[in-house]
């Protein structure tokens, strides 16, 4: 169970807030670029043949002598894309189950808000594709199906590359709300985040394990990259740990800025059993849900 019943009950009343107006043609809770049938008045315009005559403001017609039509906001659904990283680096420090939990959290929030959800995973199935598209859903009735698909995801033993993978994701449609759950521990993380530019808002949930945020004392060891197989010698001196922490600070700072440049908001999440609860609290505090 990716989202606990308690958390589902808590987040069921919330929905994601997108950036700007949506272009979807299907009804929903988000303001659209089109005029529509909501009760929120927007403007008047002259009547043209074919307009719904029930919208003619008769009082203004009598006073001005010209028939005018009242226009209202249109509410459309938000198309949400949830992208889950399952590269080998996500197999460390409980990041993979936490990533599935976060993906489930975002999916449930979107479904509860009446939005359309589209699941993606990268790298693709068997490592042959950069990204694989999963199931979609429009209502909470589709939650079990989407949850089951997420739960079935395992670590893909292929070298992860964010740039091509997210390019493939974005090729399916640009103006969508994108939520990326990843540790971003690949060389082309900048290219990947740049590919997300043009999304209709979204977030980058940067998931790191506690041992990555606060490395244990290792001594003199040889480190091997789980994805690339490259090796480095590390001498556990105080200076070396200081340099590590400085590098981590710097990376997180750069990732946050890069995400913002692509129109996404950045949240660093420490992997753990309560990662979903902490993330929801962070989303609420930041106004990302309401």
């Amino acid at each position: 169970m990716l989202v606990s019943p308690g958390l589902r009950e808590k987040i069921g009343r919330f929905s994601l807030t997108g950036r700007g107006r949506v272009r979807s043609s299907r009804g929903g809770r988000h303001l659209s670029v089109h005029k529509g049938e909501s009760i929120d008045f927007v403007d008047f315009r002259e009547y043209t043949p074919g307009d719904d005559y029930r919208r003619i403001d008769h009082l203004l017609w009598a006073r001005l002598g010209t028939p005018l039509i009242r226009e209202f906001e249109a509410e459309r659904e938000l198309s949400v894309r949830v992208v889950v990283d399952r590269s080998p680096s996500m197999g460390f420090h409980q990041k993979h189950p936490a990533a599935l939990g976060l993906a489930g959290l975002i999916t449930y929030l979107a479904l509860a808000g009446g939005d359309r959800v589209e699941l993606w995973t990268l790298p693709g199935q068997g490592g042959r594709q950069a990204a694989t598209r999963g199931p979609t859903g429009r209502h909470l009735s589709s939650w079990p199906r989407l949850e089951a698909w997420l739960e079935g995801l395992g670590i893909e033993p292929a070298e992860g590359t964010l740039g091509p993978a997210l390019a493939a994701v974005m090729a399916s449609g640009r103006r969508r709300y994108t939520a990326l759950v990843s540790d971003l521990l690949v060389e082309d993380w900048r290219a990947g985040l740049d590919r997300l530019a043009g999304s209709a808002g979204g977030m980058v949930l940067h998931l790191l394990g506690s041992a990555e945020l606060d490395p244990q004392v290792l001594g003199d060891v040889r480190l091997r990259d789980a994805e690339t197989g490259e090796e480095s010698d590390f001498s556990g001196t105080v200076d070396a740990y200081d340099r590590y922490r400085s590098r981590l600070d710097d990376l997180c700072e750069q990732m946050a800025k890069r995400s913002a440049r692509s129109g996404l908001r950045y949240l660093l999440v420490e992997a753990g059993p309560d990662a979903s609860e902490r993330t929801f609290a962070g989303l609420a505090a930041a106004g990302m849900v309401r």
Partner: protein
């Protein structure tokens, strides 16, 4: 900087393997991590094709190189050349005679000697000789600066003379052909020129501070014709202004009289005054308002002898010379009453029997306990008298000849007169009583016709009879206090400063008598109870009171150290200490545990960054 062992600098090449170790890739435990992205700046990337890596200059490497450098330098024995006064072996002769007590002299001499000791670098040997009445080697052939400094610092001025000639002879005795010695004489020069002057291989550092000085140069207690005890006090003026000074007389802790004396500069003034004291009392005379430059000679001590023995019996062969001798001494009477036990026995030849009183034994057969007869010697002449022995004061036996004498061996008796190695007169103790033993028959010698015989006999009888006041005649400080070896118990000597020394039963003299004052000698019996107690008085030597400085002539150019202008001082130990300190610092840096973790943000969240790049709290 120069090096004594420059070849050790070659060890600096060890830096190359040290650096190589930093460049070589070592086998390490392999740990798989999610990504090397986070470790980019903290770890060194490896290339499988190269067994080495790029050298990174780290603080640890620099410290290890510094440690290596310091150790190499210390092994190379760096040194600096310095002007030095010390030679290969320098003997510091410290004059501790009374005249060095003149204000400023001994303190400056001590400081000067300490200055010489401070120049020791571990290469030079230094010996220290205390030049007192009985010169002694305080420390010999020391390379330890602390030991020499402690030896010099422990020296104190005495009230006696300095036998500088003997001190120089002692110093010369410390030299060997391979290790010639320099003598440095820290002295005011003493009273008279030395026989060894000009002194070779010596340097005299004069200490000539002078000042006004009054001194009590004589104090004695005598009974006048009316039977009244009178104290005789003599005060000398050594360069002090002509003004009255007051001498206070204290008997057994109570002030009993004051005397006002006015010695002219360079002169003495004397006076006598009755003092209410009895036998065995100790009288102290001190100048109360002198405030001069030599305080040590402002006090003198004297004691009143207890009454001596009055009844003497001559046993064995009767001798008219002995009877005449006894009759010539006013306090003695001779008795021949066998029922009246005498207080003192004179046993002339024959069997001494059980000795139960002070006895003068003359060639008895067998000799008394403690003496072992080994043979006979004939045609002997006196060649040696024990110096400073009170019973031989003013007694010269130079012309005495002996036709035949016993040859005795002893560890308990004290020979005071000898002919070569043959003892002629010995002092000792038998059954706790004083005893004198003549190894020759007076009838077979010319002693009885010598002018010294009555004086010698009187002194011997006085000594035998005056056990309670034995040795009470004042002597100059530093003169050893003769002890009577009883062979049965220890001897305890209490010095004027309250210090008590316990000596073995066979010790025949106590030499540490440089401090003026009253010494109490207690003879302990076998169960450590005090058997007999005696007093010995050592007064400031009058010849030291003048304290006139004098230059000791030395042979110019013979001081060995003058032939070298400089000496070396090694720094290797300091550099090694620096290396050790750097090593400790290196260990501390290497083994230091990382600081507490510092996460990117508190909790698990990074601040949200808005699309415009502005952070939100």
């Amino acid at each position: 900087m120069s090096f004594l062992a420059p070849a050790a600098l070659g060890l600096a090449s060890l830096a190359l393997p040290l650096i190589a170790l930093y460049m070589l890739r070592s086998r390490r435990e392999r740990i798989e991590v999610s990504s090397l992205l986070l470790w980019e700046t903290a770890a060194d990337p490896l290339s499988a094709a190269r067994p080495w890596r790029r050298l990174k200059i780290t603080p640890l490497l620099l410290l290890q190189l510094a440690v290596l450098t310091a150790f190499v330098i210390s092994l190379a024995r760096p040194f600096g050349a310095e002007e030095a006064r010390l030679g290969a072996h320098t003997v510091l002769v410290m004059d501790v005679s009374g005249s060095m007590g003149m204000v400023g002299r001994f303190g400056r001499a001590q400081q000067e000697a300490l200055g010489w000791a401070e120049e020791m670098s571990g290469e030079q040997l230094v010996s220290v000789i205390e030049a007192g009445a009985l010169p002694r080697v305080v420390t010999a052939f020391s390379r330890e600066r602390e030991e020499v400094v402690a030896a010099i610092s422990a020296l104190e001025v005495t009230g006696g003379d300095a036998d500088l000639a003997e001190a120089i002879r002692l110093g010369r005795g410390l030299a060997t052909p391979e290790r010639p010695s320099d003598l440095v004489l820290f002295t005011d020069g003493g009273e008279a020129p030395l026989a060894a002057e000009p002194v070779a291989a010596a340097r005299h550092l004069p200490f000539d501070e002078t000042g006004p000085n009054w001194a009590i140069d004589a104090l004695s207690l005598d009974r006048d014709s009316a039977g009244v005890i009178r104290a005789f006090v003599s005060v000398a003026n050594h360069g002090a202004p002509a003004r009255p000074v007051t001498a206070e007389l204290e008997a057994d802790g109570k002030v009993v009289s004051h005397l006002e004396l006015s010695p002219a500069p360079g002169e003495t003034d004397r006076a006598t005054v009755p003092v209410p004291v009895g036998p065995g009392s100790v009288v102290v005379a001190r100048l109360v308002d002198s405030e001069d430059s030599l305080p040590l000679d402002d006090q003198a001590w004297a004691a009143l002898p207890v009454p001596t023995v009055s009844v003497v019996r001559v046993e064995g062969v009767q001798s008219p010379f002995l009877s005449a001798l006894i009759r010539s001494i006013p306090d003695l009477t001779e008795t021949d009453d066998p029922q009246a036990p005498p207080e003192l026995s004179v046993i002339n030849r024959g069997d001494p029997g059980e000795i139960d009183r002070p006895s003068w034994l003359i060639r008895t057969d067998p000799p008394p306990p403690g003496l072992r007869l080994t043979g006979l010697a004939t045609n002997l002449g006196v060649t040696w008298q024990r110096p400073g022995e009170p019973v031989l004061d003013d007694v010269s036996l130079a012309g005495t000849a002996v036709a035949e004498a016993q040859v005795v061996a002893t560890d308990l008796w004290l020979p005071v007169v000898r002919s070569g190695d043959v003892p002629l007169v010995l002092l000792g103790r038998v059954n706790g009583h004083r005893a004198v033993y003549f190894t020759f028959d007076m009838a077979h010698s010319n002693l009885v016709v010598q002018m010294a015989f009555p004086l010698l006999g009187a002194k011997l009888l006085e000594w035998l009879g005056g056990e309670a006041a034995g040795g009470i005649h004042p002597s100059p400080a530093g003169v050893p206090i003769p002890l009577l070896a009883s062979g049965t118990g220890m001897v305890r000597v209490e010095s004027p400063d309250g210090e008590t020394v316990t000596l073995g039963a066979n010790v025949t003299s106590f030499g540490d008598s440089g401090t003026p004052g009253v010494y109490r000698v207690q003879y302990l019996n076998a169960d450590e109870q005090v058997g007999r107690s005696e007093l010995a008085i050592r007064n400031f030597s009058p010849s030291e009171s003048a304290a006139r400085p004098r230059s000791i002539a030395v042979e110019p150019g013979s001081f060995i150290s003058d032939q070298r202008s400089e000496t070396i001082r090694e720094w290797g130990l300091w550099v090694a200490a620096l290396a050790a300190s750097l090593m400790i610092l290196e260990w501390w840096l290497a083994l230091r545990r990382p600081k507490a973790s510092r996460r990117p943000t508190a909790g698990s969240m990074m601040p949200w960054v808005t699309p415009s790049g502005r952070r939100r709290a």
